[in-house]
């Protein structure tokens, strides 16, 4: 996968095999997939909830910026999304 997919056109969405679910027992967001469950950090879950295929990466950064003013989102969010895409969990 090219690393430059986090360009202006990419509108990240969860891969078809993935379900994002809040687990009330563990108090955490999980990515569920065949044979595996991945526990997300609170911010990780927050970012991935915005990955619904309608928002660009820029939109996601802007929306999070309202909740976390001053955080280094311009670097951290695209890097996180690239990592999740490399796992095959985002398309």
């Amino acid at each position: 996968m090219p690393a430059d997919r986090t360009d202006g056109d990419w509108r990240p969405a969860l891969a078809r095999s993935i379900v994002l679910r809040h687990d009330t027992v563990r108090g955490a967001d999980l990515l569920l997939m065949p044979e595996r469950a991945v526990r997300l950090s609170e911010t990780g879950g927050r970012v991935l909830r915005l990955c619904d295929g309608s928002r660009t990466v820029g939109d996601i950064v802007a929306e999070l910026g309202e909740a976390f003013p001053g955080a280094p989102l311009d670097d951290d969010v695209p890097e996180f999304l690239d990592r999740v895409r490399a796992e095959g969990w985002l398309r």
């Binding site: 078809r16 095999s17 379900v19 999980l30 569920l32 044979e35």
Partner: protein, 358 residues
Amino acid sequence: MTDAPWALLAELTHACPLHCPYCSNPLELVRRDAELDTAEWARVFAEAAGMGIVQAHISGGEPLLRRDIVQIVEAAHDAGVYTQLVTSGLGLTSRRLDDLVRAGLNSVQLSVQDARAESSDLIAGRTSFRAKERAAGVIAAAGLPFGLNVVLHRHNLDRLQEILDLGARWGADRIELANAQFYGWALRNRTALLPAREQLDRAKEIVAAHDGSGPEIVWVLPDYYEGVPKPCMGGWGARSITVGPDGTALPCPAAYAMPDLAPPNVRDHSLAWIWAESPAFNAYRGTGWMTGPCRECPRRETDFGGCRCQAFALTGDAARTDPACGLSPDHHLVRDAAEAAGSVAGSGFAYRRPPPVR
């Protein structure tokens, strides 16, 4: 407090169209008229979700033999559980799969016995390969996450590359290479199934040489040959609950064979009590029960002493170190069998032939 479980193996029925010599269902099968009904399964899934279970394997036998399979999957989905259908593929038409997907089914695991029709049918004990091929087409066309499971043994290991090619051709996302495990029915067929070490060495080379393109490959440890036991079920009562067709709840699907376990039943107890309180789920939980070399072993939190069911099957004492471990005083029980496998000719299979239904 006991950590919450992650997964539920729901064995809806022991009825099955196949007769595999390594069948993982217990020696004594549950009759169809003793099976949990739709409402009972719905309650099990609701309770499971409430205690933290997020994954369910909808299995059997052949779960598609349940006429209420769609309602059962729907109940699991409604409870918020990620579902995987574990099937032989027989009876999986596109119409059936569409209904299941509408009910919320998330993924499918299909079994195949070998890469070629003739040998796959020979192992399954009936004509089935072409039906599996059609089922694979149906799963791939639906775009569902698709896992292919192949039990490996002396009669198919030499075709591992063909098996991998088949999985890629059928459109699998994941191929589970499940080296045969020897409990229950498979233990009866151990002489016929145990591979020669050279067969395994060649298979491992093929897996190691895989370039990472195509389906993901999962290699299940052939524990008779490794000298280290497998971390069975991630530890007894640590991650997963098995519920059998009649509601029997077990920490491991092979634990039916332990006569003193007195497994609880979901018809009598809540799943939460079964998980946290029942003597059966606490019997080998943690490390306090350990004996012999396990007690002081630095790997005791890594492999949990191996498999309790294997320790019981081979030594008669489930609390002994798994004989698959090179440190076990009983290790000769697996080593001798594994070494003999290179020299003996494979004998015929004792096929699984369940009694006629009702």
